[in-house]
Symmetry: C2
Subunit: 295 residues, 2 copies
């Protein structure tokens, strides 16, 4: 019998979505958020995410940081679509032996992040897991984006430049728990230099760039020497580590120099780096590395 480990997450999702009635939204499954028309020039974004103990965080991690991370991951997905977060639902499956103080500190971290990005808690649900099972934190949220600001990952074109915010690699040393979702940067981009395609880097460039290219039905060529490396990281780590939560975007080549001139006047502390370009489908390269959920 085939198991999840045998086929991996992307192939699993491809099989599953054929089995149920799909919402006729503006974005198909596979984008960072689901997109529903609100009928007045606005689109509603819907997103769900999960954090699993011993997979996404360790039991000894500071609960307040885990709370921040759980919300920030979802806000990063709203940023990737050019939108803003609104209302959050928090679902907790926790062992009965967990200390109350852990859950309270976790919620303080949730509050920190919601407040920082102007979002609110709308509700939640708690359940127990059997003794010995890992805790599971699931976050669902609504967001919004004006129709003309929506960015998909499926709309990149051959010849366009690939860029990335920040530096890549080494998030496990700390950044994965206290990163800042690039919501302000995305909001500026959609207004001044709207990318042709965008997504956030959660599973690592090695996993996510091929996803963007596949969704856009194009190939890509990565300039490994150009990669903005986090301090002490190799290119292989920048490609494979995952949990960077930076923006990966594509843009018409002729607009890139103006973008790179304007960017540091608005975001002086955050690099924006061209790292390659899209090419015709079937051309270009492949990439190894990145996070595989069921390996």
């Amino acid at each position: 019998m085939k198991t999840l480990r045998d086929i991996g997450e992307d192939a699993l999702i491809e099989r599953l979505i054929k089995l149920v009635p799909q919402a006729s939204g503006a974005a198909g499954p596979g984008d960072d958020c689901a997109v529903m028309d609100s009928g007045n020039g606005w689109l509603q974004l819907l997103k769900t995410d999960a954090l699993v103990e011993n997979i996404h965080y360790l039991p000894q991690a500071a609960p307040r940081a885990v709370g921040w991370k759980s919300i920030a991951r979802v806000i990063s997905d709203f940023a990737a679509m050019g939108g803003m977060p609104e209302h959050f639902l928090v679902t907790l499956a926790l062992p009965p032996t967990l200390e109350i103080s852990w859950v309270e500190d976790f919620y303080k971290g949730i509050g920190d992040c919601l407040e920082t990005f102007g979002a609110t808690l709308a509700g939640g649900e708690t359940s127990s897991v059997p003794a010995g099972s890992s805790a599971v934190i699931s976050i669902a949220a609504t967001g919004s984006v004006r129709k003309e600001h929506l960015i998909l990952r499926s709309t990149g074109k051959p010849g366009q430049t690939i860029l990335v915010t920040g530096t890549l690699g080494g998030s496990i040393t700390g950044k994965h728990l206290d990163f800042t979702p690039r919501i302000n940067e995305a909001a500026w981009l959609v207004r001044h230099f709207k990318p042709s395609a965008m997504m956030d880097l959660s599973d690592g460039l090695g996993k996510d760039l091929p996803r963007l290219a596949a969704a856009s039905q194009v190939g890509f060529i990565l300039d490994e020497k150009a990669l903005p490396l986090s301090s002490g990281c190799t290119p292989a780590q920048a490609i494979g580590d995952g949990e960077d939560f930076e923006l990966l975007l594509t843009m018409e080549a002729k607009r890139v120099s103006a973008l790179l001139e304007a960017w540091p006047t608005v975001f002086p502390d955050l690099p924006l780096t061209p790292i390659g370009h899209l090419v015709a489908p079937g051309e270009g390269q492949s990439l190894q590395g990145g996070w595989e959920h069921f390996s």
Copy 2:
């Protein structure tokens, strides 16, 4: 150090909601769904829920039934508010050793239930759990209700009659996996005999009736002899078993006889039974039994 087992779910939620910015919706935390104003005579309902392996279903349960249950539980909450379901997000935290066929059959059950109730899948997320951990299924969904049809659990008044649909108790023998959420019954009620308060029975009458009374700041008197018992069940089981997924509602006493006359002409196969009445706060009785999540 105090643990979740020491205080239970309701006290935990009361502590947590003070720690984060709350959405200013039409219903506070503690109702079946969160309620957001859509600004055009409609309200958006938001709901999240979790099913945990070995808690809400056993590994040997038919996956298609587990899929149905995961969606039907949430639709039951929309029914409880007088609303209808719209878009669903499915978050799965699964062991890598799970067979693909299990997940596919589970998704078929999700599809069955979405199709039956006119809802759609908008997106989802999958993650792994460590070997030996229970699988966790989390469902988030949006729904809608016209402003004038919204029913809360906090608006019951002393003197009003308490009624319940269906029969209670013994759901573990099968009903908990293949129940029909009372969405049609709720839609008829809000249009013809709008209840003063309503909720769905998920944790058992012994847990949920005190919740409705507390939210409405009233007491209650239950007529145990009047309880509609499922075949072979005792009153203690009807009060304590949980997972009935019937509607618990309250109504002005003078409208009850007309309701009981009209009901069987529309729903001939489903009992609707008066089981007691609300009384002034501080009066009435208490109840034992029902499902405690962290015991």
